[in-house]
């Protein structure tokens, strides 16, 4: 069987805010069709990496390619190649589910003749078609997340980025969300790149894992490889063995510091 191509390529990626390196010389690849978990404690550099990969932030240095295109050279081609579910809600709560989907379809130039069919297909897929005309502000957290997943898939992306997609959801909804994502990964061969703090989820769904701490990749590979390497029985134990047990009070300060430096940097 021919080896699958690298759909995400990251080489020596660094992002500095003044002297503070939020992402420090990070390299990894993700193969087409893989489910790849990007794990790390709070403030480790996960969200900054996702922001760089999704063109929201410019890297300080390093090479990135998504679906064979460089964000610095062909930003719009890169943007068309991925869908994203952000860590924080990003729906317009004063619009209906259908309007949120239509808005996204316009932004991503989904052809008119395909638009309504695709929206119906996806809202049915996440079981929200019946609620399509309800304002999003009337939805539960789980319904909003499902809608965001459907929206992220609307333009047939090759890669789906999920930044803590199940944060704050009950176990049933988390299971449902992962079911949708795994189904779409299998049926369309879509690559999934996600971050999470739920290690059991990562262990269950990820083909490969990378662990980042203090802006650096500390380990990457299949879950069984990481467990063997750390002589542990679960991904959670492997994770703790790699990044330590200490509660990251200093990391909270690290996030604040990073945000402060970013703010000052912008001025």
């Amino acid at each position: 069987m021919p080896e699958k191509k690298n759909i995400i390529l990251v080489e020596n990626l660094t992002k500095k805010f003044k002297e503070f390196a939020a992402v420090d010389d990070v390299s990894f690849t993700v193969k087409a069709g893989e489910i790849f978990a990007f794990l790390g404690p709070n403030g480790a550099g996960k969200s900054t990496t996702i922001k760089i990969l999704t063109t929201l932030l410019q890297p300080t240095k390093g090479k990135i390619e998504l679906n064979g295109e460089s964000p610095s050279q062909n930003r719009n081609a890169v943007r068309k190649s991925f869908g994203i579910v952000f860590q924080d809600p990003s729906l317009d709560e004063d619009m209906t589910a259908l309007e949120n989907m239509q808005f996204h379809a316009f932004l991503y130039q989904v052809p008119k003749e395909m638009r309504e069919k695709r929206i119906k297909e996806l809202l049915n897929f996440v079981e929200l078609w019946e609620k399509r005309n309800n304002l999003v502000k009337t939805f539960s957290g789980g319904m909003k997340r499902r809608l965001e997943v459907a929206r992220g898939l609307l333009h047939h992306p090759k890669i789906l980025f999920l930044d803590e997609p199940t944060l704050g959801l009950d176990p049933q909804t988390r299971q449902h969300v992962w079911q949708y994502i795994q189904n779409i990964n299998k049926s369309e061969g879509m690559t999934v790149f996600f971050t999470t703090h739920y290690m059991e989820e990562a262990e269950r769904v990820a083909d490969r894992v990378a662990i980042i701490d203090h802006g650096k990749i500390v380990a990457q590979g299949r879950v069984d490889q990481l467990k063997r390497k750390t002589k542990t029985n679960s991904l959670e134990d492997a994770f703790l063995a790699l990044v330590g047990h200490k509660i990251r009070d200093e990391e909270v300060n690290g996030i604040d510091r990073m945000r402060f430096i970013r703010r000052m940097h912008r001025r």
Binding site: L56, A77, I84, P89, S90, D94, F103, H104, Y108
Partner: protein
């Protein structure tokens, strides 16, 4: 064009869905119209100024346009705080088209608001002197709306949260409105005030609108139009520049 259209449509839909915002934003111009219009009306008339409602109405119309337009900036901060802006910033579209869509949407809402206040002024006795010049009046309302929506978006692009916006309202927008000649004639002012009114962009909007609606203009309608159009283009460019710099 699709991007501009969908962002414009979103602003319009949100405006018509938010009845409380629509009605609430009419309260202030109505209060000014009644309190100032009838309160100072007799003094203004005795001083030989004529009908004060006739003089005041164009100022009140543009005041409501300015407040509504500048609040488009708050919409942007809101979108930023609640994550919706990120959805548009990662889309394969130019930031210029996003900014234009938001500006045109905000400006359209401000124009609608101005037209509603115009109808209110008719109810309290305001009468345009030349109906043929109404399209020209509309042009001044549109230019003022574009200028102040762009200003609101330019300011909001440089802000991370709502806290500073009130400061902007108190120290920038209120002086712009009160020193523009919306409530008093520009003739016979002290020299310092003359300078201030001349650097106040709203002075040209109000002067032009007054020229179109009641036939009285201090600077001349052509000059008003030219200055306001140039300023609107500059602010549109500035807004685009600052919007381009937003980091999610």
């Amino acid at each position: 064009m699709n991007t501009i259209y969908i962002l414009w449509l979103r602003q319009i839909k949100k405006y018509f869905r938010s009845r409380s915002r629509m009605i609430g934003s009419l309260g202030q111009p109505l209060l000014f119209l009644v309190a100032f219009g009838f309160g100072f009306g007799s003094i203004y008339q005795k001083a030989g100024g004529g009908n004060y409602i006739q003089f005041l109405a164009p100022g009140i119309i543009l005041m409501s346009v300015v407040f509504t337009a500048i609040f488009s900036g708050i919409d942007l901060i809101w979108d930023r705080q609640f994550g919706f802006l990120k959805e548009t910033l990662v889309a394969p579209v130019s930031r210029l088209s996003i900014m234009l869509g938001k500006t045109l949407g905000g400006a359209t809402v401000a124009v609608i608001q101005g037209l509603i206040v115009f109808i209110l002024t008719l109810l309290v006795g305001f009468r345009p002197v030349n109906l043929l010049l109404l399209p020209l009046a509309l042009l001044f309302i549109i230019l003022t709306a574009v200028f102040f929506t762009s200003l609101g978006i330019a300011i909001a692009s440089s802000m991370e949260d709502m806290h500073g916006f009130q400061l902007i309202m108190n120290f920038l927008v209120m002086p712009i409105v009160f020193l523009s000649g919306a409530f008093f004639p520009l003739q016979g002012l002290p020299k310092a005030m003359v300078v201030i009114t001349k650097i106040d962009p709203l002075s040209y909007g109000i002067d032009g609108l007054r020229g179109a609606l009641i036939g009285i203009s201090q600077f001349g309608i052509a000059a008003d139009f030219l200055i306001l159009a140039v300023l609107a283009i500059i602010l549109l460019l500035l807004g685009s520049f600052l919007f381009e710099k937003i980091q999610a």
